[in-house]
């Protein structure tokens, strides 16, 4: 009976799907428009940056499992590649690569809890700047 309990416990703690939400946002000082669908992060964005306008360009929700990278194309030859590296209790480790025309411009490993959002920003987009907002749920 003890063996059964141990196997069941181990199975329940094994890797489950990690649902990852990626929002690609254009931030600029052109106008004062805040896309209504960004209302849940507007406070965070407003407290961190001085942009007056935020527009959602793309939103993707995907399930990460194993260590297979997932590539998400963005505008103007850019893409974001996310790989689940591991899960540790209440944290997941992700590798995030931002690429332009196939060449990496950023490579980072982060550990995210479900309460935390990563904002990766800086690449120019027209008159504005691209911000990738990445959060997970597992």
């Amino acid at each position: 009976m003890l063996a059964v309990i141990l196997v069941l416990w181990g199975a329940s703690m094994a890797s489950a799907e990690v649902r990852t939400r990626i929002r690609i946002i254009e931030a600029s000082n052109q106008g004062a428009l805040v896309d209504p669908v960004l209302s849940d992060v507007h406070g965070q964005l407003g407290s961190l940056f001085n942009f007056t306008s935020y527009r959602l360009l793309k939103e993707v929700t995907l399930s990460l499992a194993g260590t297979r990278p997932v590539d998400i194309p963005v505008h103007q030859g850019r893409s974001v590649e996310i790989t689940l590296l591991g899960e540790y209790g209440n944290l997941v480790e992700l590798r995030i690569r931002v690429k332009r025309d196939g060449a990496p411009i950023l490579n980072t490993h982060v550990r995210l809890s479900p309460q935390r959002t990563i904002l990766i920003g800086g690449p120019r987009h027209g008159e504005g700047t691209i911000i990738f907002a990445i959060s997970t749920r597992f």
Partner: protein, 171 residues
Amino acid sequence: MKESCPRFSKLLERYFDQEVTDEERSLVENHLQGCPSCQEGLKAMEGLRYLMKAPVDEADPKENFYWVWQKIERAIQQEDKLTWKESIKRWIDLTPILRKRVWVPAAAAIVILLLIITPYFYKKTPSSSEPSVVEYVESQTHNVMVYESEKGDVTVIWLLEGPAKEGGSQS
């Protein structure tokens, strides 16, 4: 404010809120036909209702409450953590067959064994309260700035225009 007739002022409001009898409704509707002042009063109430309600009606269907529920669920699960004794007690209460006192030490023994063996299933077990960490960041084309918010819920990695410094940075 557009003042309706004093005589009909309160009745007009109840009419607007559909809190009138059939007789009162007829009375008001007849009166409205010949009273511009009350017509204006009614329009003003309609205007205010629109200002109050329309933005809510517009916002409501767009909201995604999935993430709200996730936060609530996490909070209540934290609150719902029972002490070890309470957990055993509840288990025993639910299962009459287990009321025999012999099961309590047996259950305790199993739990202790599990607590000893479980860590060997994992290579690393960071504390669940540990905030997210940027373990590694590198860019060959940009300078990079990392910022963690005071509240501990946002980490920012910012690519700065300009020539990158040599190598990457490792925390």
